[in-house]
Symmetry: D2
Subunit: 458 residues, 4 copies
């Protein structure tokens, strides 16, 4: 049975280069477990429909499990002339159960078969990604909690802006990855639809109980329209969109870790085990992990571009172009999963140089806004206060002092509303804890946010 499943009408031998060009086995062999699970469920469904006897179904299932065993033990061999994983498995099944194997493909096409395999893959991997995001969220909460009293300059435009708690900064990432998790979960709802029984495109003439197949495979529902089921790949595009957005978030924390690891910032120490050195410069300790994660974002965006482009303008139903969906899908899933894994491992081992972050938060006029707020409280309109403080900053810059290092006469020169109570208002501690409006960086806020976050995860 090493013939093609369709070569009845061909007169010429298929050219070897064509075989190599059209074969997908290098990629789709990774789907073997889903393909076998799907075939087993199909067997059971054929048996329930009376198309196979129970004994035939048992024998086929036994044969399929034998093939699975061979694949998993590494004794299975692959070759391009068998095109894809479906044919490899069916061909090998023939060795186990003989002619009976030829009944397995009844009421099924490779079109619905690959739609099923891909959905099983996405369901499985998407679920694992959601699990990894849960771990990552926990890691950020832990990192926040373990550094609850560490202060750091908050930046806008990479300029020091206002002091924030390091924990608050980390909880911003918690929010991003929590949304990522929700996004994957929403995506998975749309993946959770069983396409088998759609056959080539028009549905099947055999009386299959598709709900039974769905139940066996753990799907919540069956597809409503056979043409849609075999021809659309929006669930892949959606997964790749979720992955791309998640990589944006990972690239952002990575960028921060790279910047914070520079000598100039020195805000954090990455664990030695997660860095590498230089082949020529012995003093280097390079933040390779965040750099690689940051770089890998591009590859995931590229996968999304690839699948959007390949699906664009395809007429219904199945077209061979769609074979090209699996490489970008798997590349992106692999990339995202290893990036999440390495972050879950690395985050707990990051140490913050609190003496340096706190010193940084104390210099650079981060209390300018609070000085403006102070003036507003004393009755000055905000825009005017902003102007007054701008002038004070310019003066202080000239004197090479911070605002809180100016003495009272210097300060009152800018506004007579300023009094001695300005000094505590300009302290880092007060600045942090006065931002107690919901969502702000006040210590108590952040502690409560951490508690809420833990609850949201459980």
């Amino acid at each position: 049975m090493s013939q093609k499943p369709w070569d009845g009408r061909f007169s010429e031998q298929t050219d070897r280069a064509v075989e190599a060009f059209t074969a997908s086995i290098d990629i789709d062999r990774r789907l073997y477990q889903y393909d076998i699970d799907g075939s087993i469920a199909h067997c059971r469904t054929l048996a329930r429909a009376g198309i196979l006897t129970p004994e035939e179904a048992d024998e086929l299932v036994f044969g399929l499990e034998s093939v699975r065993g061979e694949i998993e033990s590494g004794t299975f061999s692959y070759n391009d002339s068998l095109e894809d994983i479906h044919m490899h498995i069916e061909d090998r099944l023939f060795s186990h159960v003989g002619n009976l194997s030829r009944k397995l493909h009844t009421a099924r096409s490779r079109n619905d078969q690959i739609a099923l395999d891909t959905r099983l893959y996405v369901k499985d991997q998407g679920g694992k990604i959601a699990g990894q995001l849960l771990d990552l969220c926990k890691a950020f909460i832990d990192l926040a909690e373990n550094n609850i009293d560490v202060v750091l300059p908050g930046y806008t435009h990479l300029q020091r802006a206002q002091p924030v708690l390091f924990a608050h900064h980390m909880m911003a990432y918690f929010e991003m990855f929590a949304r990522d998790k929700a996004r994957f979960e929403d995506c998975l709802k749309r993946v959770d639809v069983m396409p088998l029984g759609s056959a080539a495109l028009a549905g099947t003439t055999y009386p299959l109980d598709r709900s039974y197949t769905a139940e066996l495979l753990g799907f919540s529902s069956v597809s409503e329209n056979s043409m849609d089921a075999v021809s659309d790949r929006d669930f892949i595009m959606e997964l790749l969109s979720c992955a791309s957005i998640c990589m944006v978030h990972l690239s952002r924390i990575s960028e921060e870790l790279v910047i914070w690891s520079s000598t100039e910032f020195s805000f954090v120490d990455l664990p030695d085990a997660f860095c590498t050195g230089s082949s020529i410069m012995p003093q280097k300790k390079n933040p390779d992990i965040p750099e690689l994660v940051r770089g890998k974002a591009g590859g995931v965006f590229g996968s999304l571009t690839a699948v959007l482009t390949l699906m664009k303008s395809l007429p219904l139903a199945y077209n061979r172009d769609m074979q090209e969906d699996k490489k970008p899908l798997m590349d992106a899933v692999d990339t995202l999963r290893t990036c999440l894994d390495i972050y879950v491992r690395m985050l707990p081992k990051i140490t913050v140089n609190r003496s340096l972050t706190e010193a940084a938060a104390d210099r650079g006029y981060l209390n300018a806004t609070d000085m403006a707020d102070y003036l507003v409280e004393k009755g000055m309109p905000f825009r005017e206060a902003h102007g007054v403080v701008g002038k004070a900053v310019a003066y202080a810059l000239g004197e090479k002092k911070e605002l809180h290092e100016l003495d009272l006469p210097e300060l009152t020169f800018f506004s007579s509303l300023i009094e001695d109570d300005i000094y505590p208002a300009l302290s880092v501690k007060q600045m942090i804890d006065r931002r107690k409006t919901y969502g702000g960086t006040a210590t108590q806020n952040v502690q409560e946010a951490i508690e809420r976050a833990r609850k949201r995860l459980s």
Copy 2:
């Protein structure tokens, strides 16, 4: 008050080219209504917090509404030196309420203000898109229903494969756009979070009741973390992902309409009003609408690429790069909305040339699968039956006949299992109606699918 809001410390005059380069007013002026709505809600919240008196709040609201009136009546003037819509409105507000206008920006930064405006825009537009998708879904249901008995060849690889109902084909699109709608709705859940009160990045020192602001603006919740609220734009990337996927679907039906409008297919007639002619070839009736929609998909993918790229690797919190998110966002929203609109208008007017689609379904060996199924029913394993039919097709091709045009002796030459009952089995009507497994193209199935679809929409 034509000064910059921040120029206290600047010694040089801002260069005009810099003004033009940094100004966003050409783009963000479209956000005026959201900006004013946000400012009004902010006023009310400031009043509730005792930062403004009720009278001040009323006066500011009145002033803001006056500015809105001026914008809507076209008497408002724009210039680059006022940078953005926030400053334009505040500057103009000064003309209406004088110094009081300077109090409006208390407890607010442009960072949380633009986050709010953009969320209001996405909420509004995303909701409208979902509404348009509902209309589009209805249009596909109607088109299906109005052509319930029209048969068409179903294609794979653009080769005739098996006959399907035109209605079944249309309902495949219903499914795609119904998923698109669900995807936008899931996206909107994550948009529905009120960011105001996050101030520049660290939260505000003023005791704002953010839930009250949320309530006034129709948001379901408030943001949990101020740094996240002002620095993330994943809701934009998600909307653009949804839009890109939806454009893939639109590009597919467009490709089909273009192909079906060719002389060679002639399956449909697009309404004259939706076509254009040629400046040089008087006979042409070009399917411009589907072509343009197909082409516009590229632009939406480009918008997604743009925002993913620009957000990648940005450290927290706000960075000026993020100003560049609005053009691709608005471009994509505009494109998608006009494409949906034009499709909702065009679909009902499409006519199907049923005599041609039905003739096409009758030729090209579309009953080959059914002949194989026939043999399977008679006891032949599927793979073997497939081979038998392949040989019969090759023979028929040589005879320039269809399978159902071969006489019984010719057919039995390929398998002795074939009997006279093969002919009805090979008729288009039976082929369609035998595919009655859930999701298949049998007429009754499709009628029920239409009914379920109507229920799902209501």
Copy 3:
């Protein structure tokens, strides 16, 4: 020597997951030959500079060639803890030449080494692509020449527009791929720059004769600036741009072959050996090769997106993100090269169904423009003639006739300028051959274009 090249300062053992995450050996092992060639040239240059003795250089070269032999014979083993191909080769070199191997990396960093390897790869592959494009151009010329008198409807908007020679249509692709070839050649000029000697980023303190290295490796020039040499990858982005544009062209001819292979068009027959069948529908002969090529365009665009994104916003000089450039580069090169290869094989075997293409060119009012031109020649302004013909077409449509099937009284009803000489003017043959302005589809034009094309290639 299984230690890392940089682990003098590390206190912790490198974590295994980190090793797997950071290792690039799975990808860059494909660069082994370029790496060894580069190392050999580096040896010779070190010897010329007196840093190695001639005997040392000979021994190292011998050792490197031994390693090459091991790799090529498949006896070489790879593992993640050696990170990359550079370390694998150097580590193995130690087995051959002992401590001497440690001198090889003098005056070199992995930063300039990988820049060299990648340039050698791009130079080699880019040259091969240019060669394949030459073959493809020849194949289009041959296809044109072999079908010089075949007429086909020319399309705009996939609507029949005016008759053209099939050869003219094919020569349009010749032009596209000839430009692609020129584009790759321009790209290769910028690749042809030797970076070694740039060391980590600042240049080297050793007196290397870099021109000698360049000469040994076949480069025309050496890099001007060490920081640029190790940090820029614009030559990769340019190659990927060229590849993307070329894939656009391949996708277009592929789309045409898919459409032309449909039953409705039936303009061409693809060779059986380049098609596959269906596992469920025995009559199918699917245009898989063009479909796959069309689909693969997306992957190449994705590679370009990936590298643009990863390089964006990287500070000088080398960053680890840049390790991620090789996978998209190699993916795209592999894809393009196999697509070109398969097209060069397939094109000569395509047959045109000239009776069908010619019949198609005769119907669908393709002579409407020529009727307008006829009227213009008789003195009517073009815009007016266009309107007259439009009305004639509408009338003929109603009569279910072509323009040349209307009799003279019918025609003169639309304009009294029409005389009996209109009929030859409306014949396909004349329409083709009257378009003899340079670049037009007249037979003689096309023959001359073919001759010029052959000359351009030689």
Copy 4:
């Protein structure tokens, strides 16, 4: 003459929404000057062919110039029902020259007309971009020359690596932008091809002297194949590729300026006129220009994605999808040109804080490589020397000293090869000037590189 140019055969009134959807006037009105130039050249060519009398041609040219005057003086009015710029101009021409205007479109289609207009636009704008790149290259040379003796830490992985001259760093950008310029110039060679005379797709029946048209319009050659000429847009994709790569380079210098402007680095001061402040934080001086440029890179990549996607899989010849090429093209050209302009203005005004950059170059073990090189010179194999220095760095870190702050006994502990001459070898000045291999950072090298660069530009 407000009718459509093609509505002879249409029975229904074109719907207003369709008009708005299909109209391109909002975008292509920017092409008016190219369209008029093209029409004038077309007139002259028609006259030379005897299709127009000289007087008619003069009158048409006069009319076209009158329309140009109206457009440029702002008295021209636009509306969607006239679709595009071609029809607007022709319609208005009618007012000036009456029925004669109807002769202008003889031997021309909108297909070759828009191909011409777009090529003229790209030629013009591409040439201007090349000119701006020349200015930018000069600005980098000047910046290098004016800071020829300023030392700065060179970075890899954003970790201090080895000291370099600031001028050397700037000259790396010179190289990048010089390549960008060459890339645009290569692109322009392929743009410089005159398409008019290709008509709708098949060429024209009128005896046009296309070389004459080319000469009038300043093109070097005419297109070889009419179908290619009207249907390909690879020159746009190539321009967008060049623009994308150039934006990568701009994003890199921008990233560096943002990082260098941070308080932590403080390596440069951007001119006040090129920064903006904060609406809430009076002390902020934000590097808005580099941030915006960095962000705008995404939009240009998006334009490239858009055009690649829209052109993918389009059958020959013209398809309406191609109308969508102009917006991304113009968006990208505008973006690139304004970014180049602002950089040419800003660069000369950047000041380097040399005391800070030099202090930074002195700390962080940037002389570690040179210590290894020192040991190699004394006879130690490089890999071993690397290990020795690694240990010395670890020791020095523990002592909170730099390598050059260790005393001789401390140093000799790590290797007995170390002698008193190590100290000058570890000085920044020597480290720089020892890197005198071609392309290295030695002062004399950089001075010579600057001279060569000036010559290359002239």
